[in-house]
């Protein structure tokens, strides 16, 4: 499956996304900048476990959000950060252990083998850990995903308010 956005392109292989099945994600950011990563849906964030945040979007959307975060180089230190956009609107993509809606996903990578997985973050309860860093937020502001006032409220624990 190919997903084409602006000048970049995201390719997934295989094109059926199942829990615990690795998917190769190839993102062509520019002709000389191609990123290849392996993503695997973690069933712990889809099994209704009340102690873990849960995705409320489909498997394919989860993998696409990861592809989007790679494509937009939304990375700080060891994490990629993603959102689900519908046009200009940022949609909820999961719920937190506090049963609050979440619009931000964090993706982390296991060391060996190098496989990514992700989950919705709890930026209301854990704003000190669960908010993207400044570089990512600036990028998202430039893309029109988040406003300055939304950034201030997000990092201050007031949530992502529309």
């Amino acid at each position: 499956m190919k997903c084409e956005l602006d000048n970049s392109m995201i390719q997934f292989n295989p094109t059926v996304f199942l829990s615990n099945h690795p998917v190769s994600v190839t993102v062509t950011i520019a002709p000389n900048n191609i990123v290849c990563e392996v993503y695997q849906i973690n069933p712990h964030h889809r099994n209704g476990n009340p102690n873990k945040s849960q995705w409320t979007i489909g498997n394919h959307e989860e993998v696409e959000v990861f592809g989007w975060s790679v494509e937009n180089e939304s990375k700080t230190d060891e994490y990629y950060w993603g959102v689900l956009m519908d046009g200009a609107v940022c949609l909820p993509l999961g719920i937190t252990p506090h049963r609050l809606s979440s619009k931000v996903a964090r993706f982390e990578c296991s060391a060996q083998p190098r496989v990514w997985h992700g989950y919705p973050v709890d930026y209301v309860n854990n704003p000190q850990h669960d908010c993207p860093g400044r570089d990512v937020l600036l990028k998202w502001a430039t893309l029109g995903i988040i406003t300055k006032s939304q950034i201030a409220r997000l990092i201050g624990g007031r949530g992502w308010r529309d």
Partner: protein
């Protein structure tokens, strides 16, 4: 209420020692001579300089200071103390403080410099923080989200941050009885200081009648405020063993949205909602109330300021507004003190 707009892309602000500290969205910290800005405002006000007015969406117009005029009041400029958006800022005589997801940072505040300043930055703690507020003799109260509330006892002697609560906390301020802390997922609470320690905790449900834990609460001096369901209620604190007296209630229009944050000082109360900021000079009077269209990035009051305690700073997308909560104080008292007339 009188208003002055400073045009620019700001993220946070502080006022201390006659200086205005502005954190810009692009990562710099600019320090301005605030008294010079106010003098310029007075000059425009009395000169009737309408060319310096900005027209806002709601039809109001206010005087403004543009980048060129602002540049003349610039004392110095530097980068953020750490390359993260500050979640909290504070300025005390001991230094400038910034909290963020990487910890707590400080640097000295030079008194006389017109040059780019790069005073060395000291990292006081690795604990990720979402808010910091301080008082010279009471230290720093540091909210750490789900990691709780921490206290730096002395800003002059430094030392380690001490955890004084494990309750989820996103904001904490010193008040008469101790430290009042706000939570985004649980109850707010009051930590009462006793024998130099914050051991005694009073939860919001014990403080406020009919509190359910989902509202915004805050306090100033011995006044305690609760905002929920588009209603603000003001209580008077008597003692930790007696129920508080309800002093007044104010209803908010639904279009203003849900409550986001609030604070009070001796000059009034600021209530931030999703779509507006409301300022109350006197909550008991209908006319002592101003609504400013939002949303806003940040607002600050300066109850510890000797000369500008009635000034409120509100940061919008493209400007910072200085709002004076009491016009008479602005014209006849504070302007005179800064030598405006």
């Amino acid at each position: 209420m009188e208003r002055l707009s400073i045009i620019g892309d700001f993220f946070d602000c502080q006022l201390y020692g006659g200086r205005l500290y502005l954190w810009t969205f692009n990562g710099s910290l600019q320090v301005y001579n605030y008294k010079a800005i106010i003098r310029e405002w007075v000059r425009m006000y009395h000169g009737g300089l309408t060319s310096h007015c900005v027209l806002y969406e709601n039809g109001e117009s206010h005087m403004s200071i543009g980048p060129e005029m602002l540049q003349r009041c610039l004392l110095y400029e530097r980068d953020y103390l750490a390359n993260e958006f500050p979640t909290g800022t504070e300025v005390l005589s001991s230094g400038l403080y910034e909290s963020n997801a990487k910890g707590l940072f400080t640097c000295k505040v030079p008194l006389f410099s017109r040059h780019i300043n790069q005073a060395p930055v000291e990292k006081l703690s690795d604990i990720p923080l979402v808010y910091v507020s301080g008082a010279q003799r009471r230290g720093l109260a540091c909210a750490a989200g789900s990691d709780g509330l921490f206290w730096l006892q002395s800003v002059s002697k430094r030392g380690e941050l001490v955890q004084i609560s494990n309750q989820q906390t996103i904001k904490a301020n010193f008040c008469s009885p101790g430290i009042y802390a706000d939570s985004s997922v649980g109850e707010s609470y009051l930590l009462v200081k006793d024998d130099g320690r914050y051991d005694s905790i009073i939860r919001a449900t014990e403080l406020y009648p009919r509190a359910c834990g989902s509202q915004i609460t805050w306090c100033w001096d011995d006044n305690f405020f609760m905002a929920e369901d588009h209603m603000l209620k003001v209580y008077k604190f008597i003692s930790s063993v007696r129920p508080m007296n309800l002093e007044g209630e104010i209803q908010f229009f639904y279009w203003k949205g849900d409550f986001v944050s609030a604070g009070s000082s001796q000059c009034g109360t600021v209530v931030e909602l999703d779509n507006a900021v409301c300022l109350f000079e006197d909550w008991a009077k209908e006319e002592g109330h101003t609504t400013i269209m939002g949303p806003v990035t940040r607002w600050r009051m300066y109850p510890r300021s000797k000369e500008f305690s009635s000034h409120v700073h509100i940061i919008f997308d493209e400007r910072l507004d200085i709002v004076v909560m009491n016009d008479n104080v602005m014209r006849w008292s504070e302007m005179r003190r800064v030598g405006a007339w």
